[in-house]
Subunit: 225 residues, 2 copies
């Protein structure tokens, strides 16, 4: 774990509510490791485009992947600057005024230019992407064929320039607020439902380790069942 | 409920996996009404910027709000084209190959230019924003003061040009797949924890209606407790 602080740049500096800016890389890694979908923004002919994608953190870089047939991803592969956000909503903050009502959240926005992952590194990167969503699944199922690999674009974005913002805790204290009005936080978190087996599954096939691991990864221990 | 289909434009046409494109406005409304945070993308000096914001749907427009001191929101208020995404991840799809592994999701990306909501319409819009997150909270707490209103920027974006994509169901069938390998879907959904009262709350204050309503809104009935 690196102890280097995230640099503050023109793009990552938080101007308002500066106390919410976080420069600790450990917090960044926790945000990225706990998410499932990132939103990728880029400019095409001066206008913003936005697409949700699966991703994974691999050390100090973010991996993205998609089809080689996806036009926006090809633009990213071609060197278009991107901004990539991962956001968690952790709770609704019930204050005693509408103005102070808020959300607890953790968000990371990464800025930069992605490079195409090529050669032997591709399989390693795809495995990292698979392991992020379904830890260990790679060893349970058929690996990608050469044809499938050729249809997959893998991109790597360094975690060099990142804006991390976090709000935690209860409503901000207001003078003269009425303590008889309920105030506090309604926590929100991810939860998994009962696994739904495929129609053609043989009887009595036990749940795979990767599914149990995905449940543990994507559900906080307090609500896992 | 309008039955008019979402128009397909250069920006909203889905080129890959076209079967995932949805043109039904009812699906769009459900995606927007069920979310808490939208990601707003815009281009600043040719480079993409991205910020997570609270939002609400109000009829056939999207409302966004933030501080008048937020530079990016001021750029949006000034007429910068934006793209706004709301995405739900509904499940992890465990296929029998890495390539077919997937996620079930519903996503909406709205394109356009927002206008500043002014005059009497501002309070109505702020109430819609409040009601989206915490239904009925407006009547339980102190309303905004003139000073708080002056510090708040409210923006409206028409739901004219929207790309909606949905993936549902189990893993895609693969010939010669081994039915003895577990395949299926791990459903994911939002869940609320136990409410955390503020430090200064008087004893025996019951949970407010708005909190119960927020729980019902943000948690599917099957997991609400």
């Amino acid at each position: 774990m690196t102890t280097e602080l995230l640099p503050v740049t023109k793009r990552t500096r938080v101007h308002r509510l500066r106390e919410r800016q976080v420069r600790d890389r450990a917090v960044l890694y926790e945000i990225l490791d706990g998410g499932l979908v990132a939103h990728v923004a880029l400019c095409v002919e001066g206008e913003p485009m936005l697409l949700p994608v699966a991703y994974a953190r691999d050390g100090d870089r973010l991996l993205l992947h998609g089809s080689t047939a996806a036009g926006l991803l090809r633009a990213v592969a071609g060197g278009a600057p991107i901004a990539v956000a991962v956001t968690h909503v952790d709770g609704l903050v019930f204050a005693r005024s509408i103005f102070d009502s808020s959300m607890n959240y953790r968000s990371a926005v990464v800025f930069g230019t992605a490079r195409v992952v090529e050669g032997d590194e591709r399989v390693t990167a795809l495995r990292a992407l698979s392991d992020h969503l379904m830890p260990g699944r790679w060893d349970e199922v058929r690996p990608p064929t050469a044809r499938e690999l050729a249809a997959t674009l893998v991109l790597a974005l360094p975690l060099d320039e990142v804006s991390v913002k976090v709000r935690t805790g209860g409503p901000s204290a207001e003078e003269a607020a009425d303590p008889a009005i309920w105030a506090g936080v309604l926590p929100l978190r991810a939860h998994t439902g009962e696994p739904l087996p495929a129609d053609d599954l043989s009887p009595d096939v036990p749940l795979p380790d990767s599914l149990r691991a995905a449940r543990r990864r994507h559900v906080p221990a307090t609500t896992a069942d």
